[in-house]
């Protein structure tokens, strides 16, 4: 068996990884929508979804089903090929970008089919990680633009035009704002960039401090790249109905939707990795007690979930929630019992929690900020963001010239 498999082991492993990641990402997407609706609702002092399942936890499923089974009309006079291509393109690119993110430093302690398994699809020694990521984001614009054009309808066309212009404009700022980090790390490799941020003082080593300006630019540009509020002009309901995907229904629409949320996740990952030390703990490595933070967080959460579930009348609530709670508690205890696992968990834990924070910020912004006017958008991009990021690059390079690599 091994003898037969081993030549193609890497292939098989990769495929499995991809499927796994795909599943995870899609689920996260689904619950991201739920999360977003909830948070926005609470920001606007509403309840948000709470009918389908406890706390509306099953809402995403329902939505998914709805997307799948809705009628899928193709408008007359569309350019069929492009019309179908566009959402595929968008989704594929968005998902691909995730594949480049490394989720942890060390491989799994045991080999499968004689292969060391890294957390993340690409092996960590890819020299052009960040570049590849930018390449993919750069292509991302086509999904929107083509969608807008191919629908052969006014609003989508305008949306497409807007988004392509916007994306080109902000891509410059996006790329430039990262250059500072690259200069400091001296590498495109994401893993190296993260490792470069390790220091005796934990959080103080992160790039956010030397690269605060860069971070601001990066984050704003990234939000614009993902067409999120306050830069969601391509799909500005009030002006363009639904922008580039006006003419798309059911699952094609879902593709755009998923693509958008996936790119949100990607951007959050990038923020975490580039500026917030990726999977590094904010505390100095000497504070060993911080290793128990996951447990400390998981245990009460699990207990709360159990208790909350028991309050439900429905079977579902009575059964599922306590189950989940129990799992969480067990996991917490296991972490205490097996320090090896605990140590291994640390990196992903911190990375995921940072990503979560950024996702929350996304939602938060959506809940609070108004949308920009188009000319404001352009002016801001070209006259504010770009110069600032360039300045950042210059300053950084001079600083490096002066003091050598910072910290």
């Amino acid at each position: 068996m091994n003898a037969f498999l081993s030549p193609y082991a890497w292939l098989i492993i990769t495929v499995v990884k991809v499927l796994l990641l795909l599943f995870i990402v899609l689920t996260v997407n689904a619950y991201l929508t739920w999360f977003e609706r909830k948070v926005v609702a609470h920001i606007q002092s509403r309840w948000g979804p709470h009918r389908v399942g406890p706390h509306g936890l099953l809402q995403p499923m329902a939505d998914g089903l709805k997307f799948l089974f809705k009628e899928d009309p193709t408008p007359a006079g569309v350019d069929r090929f492009v019309y179908f291509l566009a959402p595929l393109l968008a989704l594929a690119l968005a998902l691909t970008s995730i594949a480049i993110i490394p989720f942890g430093p060390d491989p799994l302690p045991w080999k499968i089919l004689g292969q060391t398994i890294y957390l993340g699809i690409l092996p960590p020694n890819v020299n052009i990680g960040i570049l590849a990521l930018f390449a993919i984001t750069a292509l991302g614009v086509y999904g929107v633009a083509l969608a807008g054009w191919s629908s052969n309808s006014k609003y989508p066309l305008l949306g497409g035009l807007r988004s392509s212009a916007q994306m080109i404009s902000y891509e410059l700022a996006l790329t430039l704002s990262v250059v500072g980090v690259l200069l400091i790390a001296g590498s495109f490799n994401l893993t190296e960039i993260i490792n470069d941020q390790t220091s005796r003082y934990g959080i103080l080593g992160w790039n956010i401090f030397p690269q605060f300006l860069g971070f601001i630019c990066f984050f704003i540009a990234a939000v614009a790249e993902t067409n999120r509020v306050p830069f969601d002009l391509p799909e500005a309901e009030s002006e363009l109905v639904a922008g580039f995907h006006t003419e798309y229904a059911s699952f094609k629409f879902a593709m755009f939707f998923i693509a958008e949320y996936t790119s949100m996740i990607t951007v959050s990952c990038l923020c975490a990795i580039l500026f917030f030390g990726g999977w590094l703990s904010p505390f100095p490595a000497t504070w060993t007690w911080t290793y128990y933070l996951p447990t400390v967080l998981l245990l009460p959460a699990g207990l709360w979930v159990i208790w909350d579930g028991l309050r439900y009348e429905t079977i579902f609530g009575k059964v599922i929630l306590p189950g989940i709670g129990a799992v969480m508690c067990i996991l917490a205890i296991a972490l205490v019992i097996f320090p090896g696992v605990n140590n291994y968990i640390q990196a992903p834990f911190w990375l995921l929690s940072k990503i979560f924070v950024f996702l929350f910020v996304y939602v938060w912004m959506r809940g609070t900020l108004p949308r920009l006017r188009y000319d404001q958008l352009m002016a801001f991009g070209w006259k504010m963001l770009l110069p600032v990021s360039i300045a950042n690059v210059v300053i950084t390079s001079f600083a490096i010239l002066r003091w050598g690599a910072i910290k």
Binding site: D79, V82, N127, L131, A135, L139, L146, S164
Partner: protein
């Protein structure tokens, strides 16, 4: 028939196919898409050749900027199917002939001249981006500066050209 050779042929096929469809597509958007395909395939080839940075730049600049610009302009001008006029006698059959002649000629020339290169053909060792950058900023610094100037000029020119003159 190693894996890399397979990949090469796949990519090459992609590139040629893209180029062909660039020619035969009637609608500029489709041509643009085919061209993008060609470019992505080329990027893959660059990766195969061990030129990662060039590959990335190829996609970012060509795919992400230039072609987007093309698509953008096509959308802006709302260009339709290109009309099939034939005012130029020369661009008919003789043009075809000449184009083939040129291609053959170049191919022959290369075939003649690359046997020297052949021997040197080696497994593509990944050229580190650092070396590239040092080369650009040391040996090629003047060309580099010149190109930056060129870009500046181009930007100004584009602005001047594209702005509607205020009546």
């Amino acid at each position: 028939m190693t894996a890399s050779l397979i990949i090469f042929f796949v990519l090459a096929a992609l590139a040629v196919g893209g180029a062909l469809s660039l020619i035969f597509q009637k609608h500029p958007i489709h041509s643009a898409l085919s061209l993008i395909v060609v470019m992505v395939a080329l990027a893959g080839l660059y990766l195969l050749l061990g030129a990662e940075f060039v590959a990335a730049v190829q996609i970012i600049v060509y795919g992400g900027a230039i072609m987007v610009l093309f698509v953008f302009v096509i959308m802006l001008l709302n260009a339709g199917i290109e009309e099939h006029t034939n005012f130029s006698k020369l661009a008919g059959f003789p043009g075809l002939l000449l184009a083939f002649a040129l291609t053959g000629f170049i191919a022959a020339t290369i075939a003649r001249s690359t046997d020297t290169v052949q021997a040197a053909a080696q497994p593509g060792n990944m050229a580190s981006t650092k070396d590239l950058s040092t080369m650009i900023f040391k040996d090629f610094v003047y060309p580099f500066e010149l190109t930056s100037f060129l870009i500046l000029v181009a930007v100004l020119g584009a602005i001047v050209l594209a702005q509607r003159e205020k009546a």
